[in-house]
Symmetry: C2
């Protein structure tokens, strides 16, 4: 996703390594090396760093980088902006990390389970990810640190300070750095992804004549709620323009036809979508709007069956096809 990152090391627990490799292959991720994790956070990070430094650890050792970024997979919504800020600060200070204001007051409890003291909220911050380090500094820190650090520590910035006297620059991060920790966070993550996928819709008109009007009216009425691209493929075989849209971030397509089931046109569109990388990352929704000239909403069973079969096939390719039959008088 970020072009100036040259290598990505994913540290995974032993039992999930195969799953991770399958995911990387399925979605065609490049620049990724999978490494087995350790029993604690620090041991896992250390394993990840070793790939750049120790030849015996990997058959294809990666080139040692100037700066290394450490990030949690449970913070999937990190923006390039904060990554870049943290890297710049690490180049200057040797170490840097994202921080956020505290949401709750932090307290220390006494041995009897009662309040010992509370911290003044304004003076403290929550340490988040990403963090970045000059590679030599953080690797040196991990090599020097004790087993106690490796087993009970949680803070990389602390290691850089303790073992390399490098005081990390703290960079104020945005709210989307939050950790997907609880079940409710999965709900939130799902909604954020859905929101992002619903930014734009492309209305494709295969129709001519009166039905083409629908292809014109629909974008007009959608415009107030969502970014709309309108393409007519019947007039100028406007497939070049479609290709441009496919290379963007559009996941929603409405296809207006003057037939009840325009399977052929749809197959062509699905084929183009497949060739683009869009359905690899997120599901693509394709709504076919067919036209019904007579007064009932009836549709032949045969047509319906073949359409449903087609939709089942495309679903495997992460393209969700829906049909909508309207009466246009």
């Amino acid at each position: 996703r970020i072009s100036w990152i040259s290598d990505i090391v994913v540290v995974v627990s032993p039992e999930n390594i195969e799953t991770m490799k399958t995911i990387i292959e399925k979605y065609g991720h490049k620049r990724v090396t999978v490494v087995e994790g350790g029993k604690t956070r620090h041991r896992s990070i250390f394993n990840g760093l070793k790939v750049f430094a120790e030849k015996e650890f990997s058959s294809h050792p990666l080139q040692k980088p100037e700066v290394v970024i450490i990030h949690d997979a449970v913070r999937p919504f990190v923006e390039e902006d904060i990554v870049s800020k943290v890297v710049m600060a690490a180049k200057e200070h040797g170490a840097a990390g994202a921080i956020r204001p505290l949401v709750s007051t932090v307290i220390a409890s006494a041995a009897d389970g009662c309040l010992d003291h509370s911290l003044e909220r304004a003076r403290y911050r929550a340490s988040e990810m990403p963090q970045a380090f000059l590679f030599d500094i953080i690797y040196e820190a991990y090599q020097q640190c004790t087993d106690y650090d490796l087993d009970y520590g949680t803070e990389c910035l602390h290691l850089a300070l303790k073992y390399c006297k490098t005081s990390a620059k703290l960079v104020e991060g945005t709210a989307d750095l939050w950790k997907v920790t609880y079940k409710r966070d999965l709900y939130a993550a799902e909604s954020i992804i859905k929101d992002n996928l619903s930014q734009e819709v492309c209305v494709i008109t295969n129709a001519s004549g009166t039905v083409a009007k629908v292809g014109l009216l629909l974008p007009e009425s959608l415009k107030s709620q969502i970014k709309v691209e309108a393409v007519s493929t019947s007039q100028s075989r406007n497939y070049g323009h479609l290709q441009n849209i496919f290379s963007g971030q559009c996941y929603n397509f409405i296809c207006v036809n003057d037939k009840k089931c325009a399977i052929q046109e749809t197959q062509q569109l699905v084929h183009m979508l497949e060739k683009s990388d869009i359905p690899l990352l997120y599901p693509v929704v394709l709504i076919l709007v067919g036209n019904s000239w007579n007064n009932s909403f009836s549709i032949g069973m045969e047509e319906l069956t073949s359409m449903k079969k087609f939709a089942r096939e495309t679903k495997k390719k992460n393209i969700l096809v829906y049909g909508l039959l309207i009466q246009y008088k």
Copy 2:
């Protein structure tokens, strides 16, 4: 929601007092007094406490309680269990509060924006709500505390410790105490509510003969996914049983009819739902499954229009009516 709480004081900013009063009236909340908030958290809480102690502050002073619970409205998913634990602990220790493990490491920054030191995560906790106090202790603490405390403090437990030498008992809370803080938390809250509303469905069969089979088959096939109550109103006029279901936590009803649009039966059901308090708190979903005997899915325009009008009316009462026409051969 919790019967052993005798009075609820809601502290609201001046501009939202009218809205809050409207909500309380609309949903028929009892035992609630609305109080104007202050400029800071502590000033607002102090205003809330004064209602129990100072006669000039309210025309109907409330009786002074033994224990007072302080809670944030932004933590709507609090369970009775933790409230009760905190109250019991407050009775014994004078003060008590819910705590949670820290999700991120807490750090202190130096004046230059660099890391000063980080706290050992295991030794600290996040202080959450609810908290409970012997009324005399927390009121005494608020009366004694300085303007600086009132303007910059955030922790009630701290005030009880500082001014009344009362060290609060800390009670481990559950994850649902979290604060609805960011937009993503609204998504999470919405999903949790939806999940809770989708625990149970009631299938009501008004039909007899062959269509009644649908009323039998549907609960069978739903059983694996959701708790199902099945009621047949045609056989025994089983309305007593329906009333029992209405007094429970069921928000989803599927009504199987042998007519296309059973408006009369539906009106009766909607009337019963209205009389129960169910639609006051959350929307109730009512799906009408009608039967279509001939081979097309057509439905008369007149029937459709009157059904849509009916659904618009019930929507105002927080009852969402949907229609589904099936072909049962």
